[in-house]
Symmetry: C2
Subunit: 404 residues, 2 copies
Amino acid sequence: MLTVNQRTYQPPRQPTVVVCVDGCEPDYLAQAVAAGRMPWLQSALAEGTGLVADCVVPSFTNPNNLSIVTGAPPSVHGICGNYLFDTASGTEVMMNDPKWLRAPTLLAALADAGHSVAVVTAKDKLRRLLGHGMKGICFSSEKADQATLAENGIEDVPALVGMAVPDVYSAELSEFVFAAGVQLMRTRRPDVMYLSTTDYVQHKHAPGTPGANAFNAMMDRYLGELDAMGCVIALTADHGMNAKVGLDGRPDVIYLQDWCDRAIGTGRVRVILPITDPYVVHHGALGSFATVYLPPDQPAAPIVAQLRGLRGMELVLERGAAADRFELPADRIGDIVCVSERFTVIGTSVARHDLSGLDAPLRSHGGISEQRVPLVVNRKLANVDPNRRWRNFDAFDLVLNHLQ
Amino acid sequence: MLTVNQRTYQPPRQPTVVVCVDGCEPDYLAQAVAAGRMPWLQSALAEGTGLVADCVVPSFTNPNNLSIVTGAPPSVHGICGNYLFDTASGTEVMMNDPKWLRAPTLLAALADAGHSVAVVTAKDKLRRLLGHGMKGICFSSEKADQATLAENGIEDVPALVGMAVPDVYSAELSEFVFAAGVQLMRTRRPDVMYLSTTDYVQHKHAPGTPGANAFNAMMDRYLGELDAMGCVIALTADHGMNAKVGLDGRPDVIYLQDWCDRAIGTGRVRVILPITDPYVVHHGALGSFATVYLPPDQPAAPIVAQLRGLRGMELVLERGAAADRFELPADRIGDIVCVSERFTVIGTSVARHDLSGLDAPLRSHGGISEQRVPLVVNRKLANVDPNRRWRNFDAFDLVLNHLQ
């Protein structure tokens, strides 16, 4: 038995794979199954277990991947966005460095306990966080050709996978993750594997459309191969995905820095968009969650009251209430947290968002409206109450502790 | 000036058309505009006014159409569903009879004030309610060939429109409404026209898909013709529309009568689904809103508490709280009101829903998740605050009182 972040896990008894499908709104699976494009998933749902779970809000990639591999919310592991304002240094930084991590991962603990562990992620930004302190294999599709035994526990990855390194903006970047997972299972049979994709496709294609169904059909084929090799598989997501457009089909944006500049004075407030990462062409850094740092002499309450009155704003909370409600580290989320509605995103200033790369109506995430995610296991489970509030970070608990 | 249901309206100064597009989730328009399929709407949004409004919950056809033509919520006009339990007679009945109407319509008042008024609705079920007490033209596509001067103020409708009466389950049933509106405007130029379609297409096709875009392109052409004739046009909807399926693509249903039978005893509770109407093939009478009538000896509170714990249930309220929150007539909504979530519907008993007619993954409405609707006017308006909570039943107020 292994205890990590106050949860106890039994050791894996068969090869165990947890898959985090980036941006996998449940409807993607539903529509693809209904169209006959996911025969493996259809049978996994019939013969295994299909739950719908809540992800962590902000419904972004880093906080949720870290929640899944720690089994805990951001209040425990500390990763509350892809991007934050570091109050200590007074700078805005990417949250990719393991120095931000406040809790050990279950992956590292399993490796320390003698189990072989492999991690494959699409983008390199997540690799160091997921692999922190972990002995084993850990690499990204994005930099698969740069993997070394010393740094990644593996080399010559493209040759193993039989694919060239794909473009960072492509469906193939995620396919590479699945193809690598299948080849790793075939050649090395790790005890535990964690696969994490990128949501490039989901940012462009709505559930049931040809682009989305093709992606899910591809995923289904690889998961079927893993299943055929005897793997226990849990499929979940870091967050959902929704259209974020006005009636004219253009992004429906609350430009929050501009609003604060008008309301409180130019430059007195700092608006942080935790969706920000190095790759923003497909969403223009527009998501449904923002944090606001106020000047010391500015009380939060009157600003909160005004922000709540804005069309498209779903929820505005002060720091303490937001930390409680969403289980976030209070020292890293600013004075005010804003969550916009299903069809609305939050930006900083008009001038700071380059939307020229958007070649399809904006789809994005970050809010409560993207909190529902699938949680599927290809086995019947014991003691599973469908009316309980399941979390995506219960995935390892289900596959290690609840198999019938 | 005309005062109806405590709201005051100026008389129409030019031909004025209010269009209620059944099931028009805002994203239908956004995706069709983005795809270049709605050039009239694109220019109306650029040169006129595009708002997003809240419809009435339950987000069903009858309550919302009556709200639009009375300018008032169901607590005023009395129509709180398509279907209700008549406690006086102890029977379940359709709410199509004007005897259920508790308020006059603006349409009747305009006609009484000497303005020419025409109403065209897709299904006949709405016709008597919309036309109650109104002098003028009022007919349905469904029974266009049976219209008489005495009953409908017009005859020989198919010849006027140049279309045969379409099948009740077809996109053409709604096209007939628009085609009739254009011919009425061309030949009789009514002062005020109200057009109301059916959501057959929206129940089958998601926003941005070919079926949905074709419907919206069709609508756009007719609205462009009305605009070219000098009409002021307001476009709104009775409710939105969402996929209502589980991960396996099949309807995600809370069978509430079965649940109550198990919890309280078989047949002791009566569950009413106000979505019920004579035409349920395309949605199986499954929506996201239900009311529950308890036996006199059964307190509501413990049942409410249990129902709130069910997966997929968004909100469960006792009668008084539900009447307050949704502005409903308390004497017509039962002891408990249940609203399910975006992807979940409520049924009665498994055996009472025939889902064999569903040839596409279920899409439906009824809940809070379908409350957002478009509210577009092809004119700039004065004194319009986009942060105000607009309602679809503000449509006549906007076009009669707020033109610049």
